[in-house]
């Protein structure tokens, strides 16, 4: 493992690829390996590309790679596609669009299956980003699965989120309105040569303007049109308690209306401008201190996630499963109630976790 880490830091493609595989398999030793990468991460600019299915995300990613390469930057790509809920298998086809970069040594493309995650990226995405960061990639593009309205985890891993829309998907604007508007730092209307592109741009601008006004006028947590108000559950997931975070990362990001750009990814039109806009966004984040803030928020979230996953992991151990089943029977036969039983189970988990941590140290 140490050897793998050393080679990864030295920029060895195979080592990086193998580390990602181990992270995907939730290999304990690989988690430990991430620790050794810590002095080598934090340098990459992570860009999320998200949007509804058929928006042309992969084609856009392909053209962005070309642009970043022309600027002398090394590019890592993590392309996420859904796993089949039936077989657990997956067909990962995003790479197909980017295969012309396959033999470029400055480009690393990895397809990830969601493996049951519902947030649009896979559990291993965090770790994979750190691996590519440590391996020396300047830009890391994270292409999410085609989002509906709740697949917004990408905001937790990316410095810049590009939300791609496209004319002619019917109620595309509705999809965006319903929940993912807030996560976009840059909006792209792709396939802009199609009928209706200008209308989509106008509507997006109007919505973003309204949103910015509302946010300026009111505190973000109490505002009528914020994520917190509409989807407290998300805020909870994100580790943010409504009302206790006076300076949410979101409020600052929307304080300036996000740009809306038109592209035709197919022939590259508008992609150079998009690239500049992305790079400018990072500059602004860095100079205002927002980057630090956002990354800190992201780490808080990851910590929360990690704890959830660990508890999940512990719960799946046989002895705790037995305890749970026994408690369940007691609740069923009304010897106890679900809350008391839950507290009892939680204490056992806690105990087990402490032992587990002890044995690790």
């Amino acid at each position: 493992m140490t050897e793998l880490v050393r080679r990864c830091i030295a920029g060895d493609t195979r080592a990086a690829a193998r580390l990602i595989t181990l992270l995907e398999s939730q290999d304990r030793a690989a988690y430990m390996a991430l620790y050794r990468l810590k002095d080598h991460v934090g340098h990459a600019h992570v860009i999320g590309i998200t949007g509804p299915p058929g928006a042309g995300k992969s084609t856009l990613a392909d053209k962005l790679i070309t642009q970043f390469r022309a600027r002398g930057l090394k590019v890592g790509v993590l392309a996420v596609d859904p796993s089949s809920p039936f077989s657990g298998g997956a067909i990962l086809g995003d790479r197909l669009r980017m295969q012309s970069h396959a033999t470029d040594l400055g480009v690393f493309i990895r397809s990830l299956a969601t493996r049951g995650s519902l947030g649009g990226i896979s559990k291993a995405t965090h770790g994979a980003i750190r691996v590519l960061d440590a391996a020396g990639y300047d830009i890391i593009l994270v292409e999410t699965v085609g989002v509906g309205q709740s697949e917004i985890d990408v905001v937790r891993v990316a410095d810049t989120v590009v939300l791609v829309s496209v004319p002619g998907l019917g109620d595309d604007i509705q999809v965006i309105k319903a929940g993912i508007m807030e996560i976009g730092d840059i909006f792209v209307v792709n396939k802009a040569d199609r009928d209706g592109a200008d209308r989509v741009v106008r509507e997006l601008r109007a919505m973003l303007e309204t949103q910015a006004q509302l946010t300026r006028g009111q505190s973000p947590a109490a505002g009528p049109d914020t994520l917190a108000a509409r989807d407290p559950d998300f805020m909870h997931h994100a580790g943010i308690e409504p009302g206790t975070q006076p300076e949410s990362a979101f409020s600052e990001q929307v304080s300036e209306t996000p740009p809306v750009l038109k592209t035709i990814a197919e022939n590259g039109t508008g992609v150079a401008e998009l690239t500049n806009t992305i790079l400018k966004h990072l500059d602004r984040l860095a100079s205002t201190g927002e980057l630090e803030h956002a990354r800190l928020e992201s780490i808080k979230y990851q910590l929360g996630q990690f704890v959830f996953e660990e508890i999940d992991h512990l719960l799946s151990a046989t002895d705790l499963t037995n305890v749970r089943d026994e408690l369940a029977r007691k609740v069923f036969s009304r010897k106890t109630d679900v809350y008391s039983a839950g507290m009892a189970l939680f204490e056992r988990v806690f105990q087990q976790g402490a032992d587990h941590g002890h044995s690790q140290a």
């Binding site: 298998g89 997956a90 990962l92």
Partner: protein, 134 residues
């Protein structure tokens, strides 16, 4: 946790007949594997570099044009050059039986002709993986 089997399904060469490749991709997915589909007109260089980045266990290639004797061995050769020795490589398509010994001697693990059931391919992968899954 057990690792997933990852398979690169590629069409080297110029022929555009991807019915077989797509049927196989689906069958492997339905057997619980993760399939990276790279599509048509792939050079051996592209295939090998994708296989490394994707850290696959298997490279499955399909050719119907008759260029197999040239392209399959080239993929194996490039893998060797890169020091990769734990990837299972096999092929399928319209390939005369008399070419199979040559291809095997070049390191192609198996060649599946027309009419091969997908279940046979799945079993072949499961029993011939070069890397362990745990």
């Amino acid at each position: 946790m057990e690792r997933k089997i990852r398979v690169l399904v590629a069409k080297p060469g110029l022929d555009g007949h991807d019915r077989g490749a797509k049927v196989i991709a689906r069958a492997l997915r339905d057997a619980g594997m993760e399939v990276i589909y790279t599509g048509l007109r792939q050079t051996p260089e592209q295939i090998v570099s994708a296989a490394i980045q994707e850290d696959v266990d298997v490279i499955a290639m399909s050719i119907l044009s008759g260029a197999h004797n040239h392209l399959f061995p080239r993929v194996v050769e490039l893998l060797k050059e890169q020091g990769v020795d734990d990837v299972l490589v096999f092929g399928g398509g319209v390939i005369p039986e008399e070419d199979i010994p040559f291809l095997k001697s070049k390191g192609v693990a198996e060649v599946f002709g027309p009419g091969t059931p997908t279940s046979k391919t799945i079993d072949f992968i499961k029993t011939n993986l070069k890397r362990t899954l745990s």
